[in-house]
Amino acid sequence: MAFPILSVTLLTLAAGAVLSFLAGRYARWVALLFSVAFLFESLYLVVQYTSWPGTGLGGVSLFSFQESYAWISLPWLHINYTVGVDGISIVLILLTAFLQLATVIYSWNEEKWPAAWFGLVLLTCLGSVGVFSALDILLFFLFWEAVLVPMFFMIGYWGGPRRRYAALKFFVYTHVASVVMLVSLLSIAFYGHSTSFDYASVYAAGLTLPQTVQIVAFLGLFFGFGVKFPIVPFHTWLPDAHVEAPTGGSVLLAGLLLKLGGYGLIRWGFLLVPHAITPHVQWVLYAVAFASIIWGSLVSLAQRDMKRLIAYSSINHMGIVLLAIAVNSTVGFTAAVLLMFAHGIVSGLLFMASGSVHHAFGTRDIATLHGITPTTPFLATMIMVGSLASLGLPALISFPAEFTALLATWDQIGYWVLIPLVMLVVTAAFYIWMMQRMLFGPPEGIPAEAHDVPWNEGAGMSVLVALTVLYGILPALLVTLIANSAVYGH
């Protein structure tokens, strides 16, 4: 039997989380150690993923590093622990590893109950890796929900003044969505008389259903995953959660949790019930995507709180991800996954920067802070790199992703691509405006005790900046992985 790398990875994270909880004040060292181990395991996945799976629809052979053990085996119910990955999953697992490492470094000096903090960071990442690798409905759902709980506590315990409201709202929105998602998946399995809950059997079961049933199930799935995206009009939990969440929580929330929605929609939506994707359904998705893109960028323009601005720009970016997925082509999926990776890194960077702004100046208010560059040159640089990356400057990571996404959209729906394109200009506008007001000009509203970032925050951001540049110049490192896996999309 091949080396069970996925189980080992999951166990690494689980062990890391438990040990962090127990390690008291050494928790950060434990977390760092296990984050590095996790990074190496992800790199192992990337390097070892050389035997490209063949083409074919939903066959088991499409996934590498597959493991399967019976978990619940009753005469009428077969649930397995089945994990396996393809290029899409691997890219997102790699993202998880990068973000986890950066978050652990960034929050190195966490003072409020550090053992629990680092434990929860690792638990969140454990859940995400589980989601990205699970190939059984129930296992997938377990990991999906497992992400929710640590994030709930991260917001609710470490968060800002309105943290309780934000945590509860986050929990209720996403929990309701995941129940709808589970019901949709189960209805495919049960009504298609699936022999087990494995991906392949559920896929086969889905094919036997009448197309209307498939479409209804798909729309349920779309709602379930869409709330995580988040799509307009179910996005309102996101700004609240982000503003109240601690910085590390925001990084994981934007970097990972939103990606779970995108990944879910591809793997457990588009690829699972391919026949549900009719042109009408596609247009529903396009409309929602346009709404999210427009709403996200226009509302961003009006924000004074730097963190809130980044939160709304996430809605805009994830709208483009949704658009690229809805195109339902290899190029589209590739662009979507690449953009998710890019957004994970860049929004992580920006949230860290906004957290550091708060530490340094005691406020994140764009309107009161002016000319922070002389006081905090390093931080200003980070904000600039992050903003430029986010607005899609070439040679930084988002550019290839957004360009491909728009290209794929153009391919399918022609001039409608003008909507996201125009909104990209708005996106550029609000980032440049923010930079102009905050970074440049004569210093104003800067408290005397303001200081540049501590080493750990700087190191955390530097990791992400390095990745922004590296993958901006060499997106091919990821594209090959993704594109080969998105082939069987239709």
Binding site: I72, S73, L74, W76, G156, V179
Partner: protein, 519 residues
């Protein structure tokens, strides 16, 4: 048609002997709670080993006292007892609840007298519960239920000084007497209709005789009578006052243990100890076989309606509660609703799901009530808002309680999720209108998340009030037994949530014998 060997009663005998020993020791002056409780815990453990051995589980299989062939034999038409695997599973469930309650009450406050009464009655009640699981005759079943009833009335009121407990005991007693009367009246109507009180005969009779009006009336009275025990809505009103007024460790036993006799009683009355479907010429496949009363769809429908009513009313009223114990009491009622789904659906899969739900509920509810008892011990008031900031003040206790509540809410990676999942999917698998029972269950689970999450919020997110000087919270532990019992319950809840396989398989195979096809 083999009789039940005397060794089948060994577990019950052990408990009875231990109960008598406890009373005897009390007379000669040994009154230490740890000593008497130790006997009760040891006895329940020994009985548990015996039951598990009889189920044929390694490594206890070698200890079995009853030959394997006797298990699940169809009892004769005059038998009082039947020895079935599902009965054994329920015996194990009952013993587990007694074990946890006994362990959790080991170190009772030393100034409180009556350790002998508590532990002695605990064992006698459990003996009665084991007899329920062995019944093959309706009258004997009702008598066994009565043994449990009388012991538990006394357990609720034994402290005597507490007015609320006395009121609860009185209420419990009067309602109990009423339900007994209803049950026996129902049983006599059934005897009139079918000419026997043997459960096996009763389960076969509708196939040949059909359902005369007298039988339906009898069944209705039995549903009411036994439904009181199982706290089905609308026969639930007593439960909350009793659970609230009783000493909390007794509440743990009532909710986690003794009320489950009602569920198993309904199993026996409406399905029979061992049911051979083939005798009723039903053609069906394996797990999708309906049980006999589906010949009277009205009975299945009744149970379906009762299930939805019970879970919905329980959950909605739990939402409105301000006191922790009352909230848990209502949540206990709603859990009974989930279990009823199994009877309504009536396939072996559904019985397996319901049984697993009962099994899971022991750990969750006994654990949760023990935490409440522990909380009272360290000076936390009865209101939910009194639990403010427990996460900071007693993090271990708060985390334990949180896990138990999450399991009750059916959050994944806890046993509560697995049990609900198996139960609901068994309803979906049966197709037809049963799917709606799964939908109702699902909606109810979503609803229940709110009141459990509210407690989590209070414990972990609300800032604690400044502690008064000399507060109990700063002081001492909970006592070994209680801490270990809570710890074990939490471990079980998580472990069974992550790896339910073996237990689930065993329960499914027991339920498979319960509703036999072919032959």
């Amino acid at each position: 048609m083999t009789g039940v060997p005397i060794s089948a009663f060994l577990p019950a005998g052990i408990l009875l002997a231990a109960a008598l020993l406890i009373f005897l020791l009390d007379v000669v002056g040994v009154r230490r709670s740890e000593a008497l409780g130790g006997i009760s815990v040891a006895a329940t453990l020994a009985a548990l080993v015996g039951v598990v051995a009889d189920l044929g589980f390694a490594p206890f299989g070698a200890l079995r006292t009853v030959p394997a062939g006797v298990v699940d034999a169809v009892p004769s038409t005059t038998a009082l007892f039947a020895f079935t695997s599902l009965g054994l599973v329920f015996q194990a469930i009952f013993l587990l609840s007694a074990f946890f309650v006994g362990l959790g009450s080991l170190s009772r406050p030393s100034d409180e007298r009556g350790a002998a009464i508590f532990f002695g009655l605990l064992l006698i009640a459990t003996t009665g519960m084991l007899l329920v699981a062995l019944s093959a005759d309706l009258f004997f079943l009702l008598l066994a239920i009565e043994v449990v009833g009388i012991s538990t009335y006394l357990m609720v009121g034994y402290t005597r000084r507490d007015g609320r407990a006395l009121e609860a005991a009185m209420k419990f007693y009067i309602i109990g007497a009423l339900s007994t009367a209803l049950s026996f009246f129902g049983a006599s109507l059934l005897f009139g209709a079918y000419g026997s009180t043997n459960l096996e005969v009763l389960s076969q009779a509708p196939g040949t005789v059909g359902y005369p009006a007298m039988a339906l009336a009898g069944y209705a009275l039995l549903i009411a009578g036994v439904g009181f025990k199982a706290t089905l809505v609308p026969f639930h009103a007593w439960a909350v006052d009793v659970y609230d007024g009783a000493p909390t460790d007794v509440t743990a036993f009532l909710s986690g243990g003794s009320k489950k006799i009602g569920i198993f009683g309904l199993f026996l009355i409406f399905v029979g100890p061992v049911t051979l479907l083939s005798t009723r010429s039903v053609t069906c496949v394996d797990s999708a076989c309906p049980v006999p009363y589906h010949f009277a769809p009205i009975l299945a429908l009744t149970f379906g309606v009762l299930a939805v009513l019970t879970m919905t009313v329980g959950n909605v009223l739990a939402l409105l509660q301000k006191e922790m114990k009352r909230m848990l009491a209502y949540s206990s009622i709603s859990q009974a609703g989930y279990m009823l789904i199994g009877i309504a659906v009536g396939t072996s899969a559904a019985f397996a799901g319901a049984t697993f739900q009962v099994f899971a509920h022991v750990f969750m509810k006994v654990g949760a009530f023990l935490v409440v008892a522990a909380a009272a011990q360290i000076g936390i008031g009865p209101l939910i808002s009194d639990w403010k900031g427990l996460g900071v003040r007693r993090p271990k206790m708060a985390v334990a309680f949180a896990l138990l509540l999450l399991s009750l809410a059916g959050i994944p990676l806890t046993v509560g999720f697995v049990s609900k999942f198996v139960l609901f999917s068994s309803a979906v698998e049966a197709q037809g209108w049963f799917v709606w029972l799964a939908v109702a269950g699902l909606l109810n689970s979503a609803l229940s998340v709110f009141y459990y999450a509210r407690v989590l919020k209070v414990m972990f997110m609300d800032a604690p009030d400044p502690e008064p000087a000399g507060s109990l919270l700063a002081a001492g532990g909970l006592g070994y037994g209680r801490a270990v019992a809570i710890g074990l319950a939490v471990v079980a809840v998580v472990l069974l949530g992550v790896y339910p396989g073996p237990v689930l398989t065993a329960i499914q195979s027991a339920a498979g014998h319960f509703v036999v096809t072919g032959a």
